[in-house]
């Protein structure tokens, strides 16, 4: 509870926590999945587990784009960049993600031209500044980032910039939720829906979760109070035997989403028949590729791509952790072979990955407690 005083409106937080305890009672156990990696990070950072009663269990979902990207895609992207005159541009999150021959940063140390960009439009700017080179943007992300990549490709075409391409790894959130619900070892009561993905897709795409699967889902903001309020809304539905889509994050998320962003995605991308997700396997129609109209800006169509498939080390149990079957610390490699400094599985690489979040906050806290009990 030590963080509560630092939060905005600490009194309201305490009141909401009280309401959660009252609604949750003690009779049954509730399993709620937060889909978004940003929520996972916030839950650990804010110590929300200490505020929630023990019979509410938060399961960390698949919404960290770096974590679900198979290692073979990193190898594929890097193999394109190994060709002469190619600049490899990617978000900072990607730089430490290991491929079989090392991360983009390690390739940079060996002489590859690797640049961190904040925005796909910065990658396009690199192409303008380096007309004699080819800039390949390694695109990752859910529907939050996909429209920005789409618009950047449209701008490249409009300006006739031909030394620029996108290696597209954009994925879509709904098929991943469906795959998790279809998984036989999965038992979930409700979902905390992603905040910023929903600014783009809106709330309608979640309706099948409520109607067909009878699971409540509440789209949530990222502040501690937002997430606690979302838990209250979910508990109220569960207690009443209801299953609805609700929007706690109305101040940012319109019910219909952002139509201009959806138009840009529809203009540039098409669904892949299937795509591999790390830990979840192949999921049909779960990812985007650049369509033929924009083929010239598609790195997969412009360059030879080896199509590398890499199996994760058998001992790593990323898949089980990703589906919430295991807690991060229950993986055999957690905190020993696999740490944020030397990640083996991708869940340890990004601060939004559940293993890294768990390691950075819970694990450290446990170490402090055991130290102080010794003293």
């Amino acid at each position: 509870m030590r963080y509560v005083d630092e939060f905005r409106e600490p009194q309201l937080i305490s009141k909401t926590a009280e309401e959660i305890r009252r609604l949750a009672g003690t009779e049954r156990h509730y399993r709620m999945m937060e889909v978004c990696g940003g929520h996972t990070h916030a839950i650990y950072r804010f110590g929300l587990k200490d505020i929630l009663p023990k019979n509410i269990e938060l399961i960390h979902g698949p919404g960290c784009p770096v974590c679900v990207l198979p290692m073979g895609r990193i190898d594929d992207g890097l193999s394109i960049a190994q060709q002469s005159n190619v600049i490899f541009a990617a978000f900072g999150d990607m730089m430490r993600v290991p491929g079989t021959q090392g991360s983009p940063f390690e390739h940079k140390a060996r002489g590859m031209d690797v640049r961190i960009v904040y925005s796909p439009s910065d990658a396009l700017k690199l192409a303008r500044l380096n007309p004699a080179k080819h800039v390949m943007f390694f695109a990752i992300g859910f529907e939050t980032t996909a429209p920005s990549t789409a618009l950047t490709i449209m701008r490249a075409k409009a300006e006739g910039i031909r030394n620029f391409s996108v290696f597209c790894n954009h994925v879509t959130i709904i098929p991943a939720i469906r795959a998790i619900l279809d998984s036989p070892d999965m038992r979930l009561d409700a979902f905390i829906g992603p905040g910023h993905v929903s600014t783009v897709i809106g709330c309608r795409p979640y309706e099948w979760i409520a109607q067909n699967e009878r699971k409540p889902i509440v789209v949530s903001g990222f502040e501690p109070l937002d997430m606690l309020q979302s838990v209250v809304m979910l508990l109220r539905q569960l207690k009443a035997g209801e299953a609805k889509v609700e929007n706690q994050y109305k101040r940012v998320v319109p019910w219909e989403g952002n139509r201009a962003a959806l138009r840009a995605m529809a203009e540039v991308f098409e669904l892949r028949p299937y795509f591999e997700w790390r830990g979840l396997g192949f999921i049909s129609q779960s990812a985007l590729r650049v369509n033929d109209k924009y083929a010239e800006w598609d790195a997969e169509q412009r360059f030879e791509v080896p199509g590398i498939r890499v199996t994760d080390p058998k001992a790593a149990q990323c898949g089980e952790v990703l589906k919430g079957v295991l807690k991060p610390h229950q993986c055999k490699l957690f905190g020993r072979e696999c740490t944020p400094e030397h990640p083996i599985g991708a869940l340890m690489v990004s601060s939004e990955g559940s293993c890294a979040a768990y390691h950075n906050y819970e694990h450290r806290k446990a170490a402090m407690v055991s130290l102080s009990s010794v003293a």
């Binding site: 990696g37 940003g38 929520h39 950072r45 919404g63 925005s119 939050t144 910023h196 502040e223 201009a260």
Partner: protein, 92 residues
């Protein structure tokens, strides 16, 4: 990656309606307004920015709250580094 940063629109380019300069806690940066075509912001409006693109219009209060969340998440330094575009696109 899922986080977005609030910024205040300072000016919109006269030759390109999709290009704006925003102020993010004192740092000025060019952003793209192309994803808000249906509801164009004007100077003085606050927007949530994700990877260099304005994603939605928000109120000034929400902007302050969002900034506070980033601070509490320990993401301010990293986010500001990103906003500066690693030196690529700062506007003076």
């Amino acid at each position: 990656m899922c986080l977005a940063i609030p910024g205040k629109i300072v000016e919109i380019a006269s030759d390109n309606q999709d290009s704006a300069v925003v102020d993010v806690v004192g740092v000025r940066r060019k952003i793209d307004l192309g994803l808000l075509q249906d509801d164009k912001p004007v100077p003085g409006d606050w927007v949530l920015i994700h990877v260099g693109f304005a994603m939605s219009k928000i109120s000034e209060q929400d902007a302050a709250d969002q900034m506070n969340t980033l601070r509490m998440l320990g993401e301010m330094d990293g986010t500001m580094q990103e906003v500066k575009g690693y030196g690529l696109e700062e506007v003076n």
